[in-house]
Subunit: 133 residues, 4 copies
């Protein structure tokens, strides 16, 4: 398992879109992962609120880490995101957890909260499971 | 109307997250908008495929443009995205169209295609409508 | 093809949940299908509006017909539905169309309208494709 | 509060679509509710598996109970459902819990499990909050 997680971490460290947008992996476990992002001006939309795409990317990155943690390549098939609260600064944390996993599809829930624990967004993603990596 | 669209364009030009990720507005009409993005290394994930968050952001930006085109402030409440095809280069176009609009909620569909017209992703977003801007 | 569609029609005619709720198949084509339902008291919720589950079932039935029309068994993996307008009577029509189809996943959009063409609900379903039937 | 819950229970008991499909309310609390359904032939599709619409209806009924439990009229705006496992018999339980609630929108998660605790479906619904009832 450890070998596999290290390989996965290398892949995630090579995520240029996450890097370009200051999204960092905090931890990976079996079927779960945590990522974080400190909101800067680069994440804001035209009315100075975090862009929905920045929140989605943070959640999606945690989802990718968690869904690939079992040693099989997992590719996002679809996802739904609910936005609760507009923020303009501070550190956001995305916690991804496996809800259910079958032979070829697995469902993950990602909760995004701010430093005070306020719910910022909820992400529900379905991954398609391929062969081992 | 023209005055309003100009004001909206100013707001969209000020979207720092879209700018930082090379997403550009092509056009805005009543209840519709087109945005595009040329895929660069900055958009790729750890296995050299476009990151889901980059596709979501492109779609969300077109959705924001279309949903705000009527003169009322529209804020994303939630969205679903389906991913069809992984790409690593080329220009992607997102076309947003209003499907239905009520007193306080409106639904938009955004189609992302590549230069050959292949379907890359489908986005379905619900906006919450506030006062005029 | 015709043989296959006939076999599929037999399966759909045997859908006891659709039958029990007065949902009928109108037509099946390649990647598309139409179903309808005349709203009766049995479809209403506690405040005399059509229950969301009745609308979902109508859409899901059209989606099942369309997604199975290619000769491969298609099973719903997930779906999103947007509700636009509460109705209490009249005939509703659900039109399902394939948006995109890959090796193992296919996405369908189903539009539900009333007799005046008002948009009642929008359904977006992802089917998992198995072997031939 | 008790008075309000009684009024809500009356409304839910009057849900003809739930009644017609043997879906029953088990309990309502503040922001949560439980409903159940024993699968009979009437819930099956053409290949003898529970119809997706029956699962959606069970989840939607629990969602309606939970989202209306605060004394404000809550109407479903949209919902996403993930299907995990096809069942043909047995008792299914849907547990709805509030995830987040704002001024006008609230998000609920509904988990459907069978008697052995297997995950059958996951529902994520957004309610639009109106005036008091």
């Amino acid at each position: 398992m450890e070998q596999r997680i290290k390989k996965l971490e290398q892949i995630l460290l090579n995520d240029r879109f996450a890097n370009h947008n200051d999204i960092h992996l905090v931890s990976i476990g079996k079927g779960e992962a945590i990522a974080e992002m400190t909101v800067t001006e680069n994440h804001l939309n035209g009315v100075n609120i975090i862009q929905g795409g920045a929140l989605f990317t943070l959640a999606d990155f945690a989802f990718a880490a968690a869904s690939n943690s079992h040693g099989r390549i997992a590719v996002a098939a679809n996802a739904t995101i609910n936005f609760f609260k507009g923020v303009s600064s501070g550190k956001l944390t995305a916690k991804a957890k496996e809800h259910s996993s079958g032979k070829t599809l697995a469902t993950y829930i990602v909760d995004i909260t701010d430093e005070e624990g306020n719910k910022i967004a909820l992400f529900n993603g379905t991954a398609f499971l391929k062969g081992e990596y």
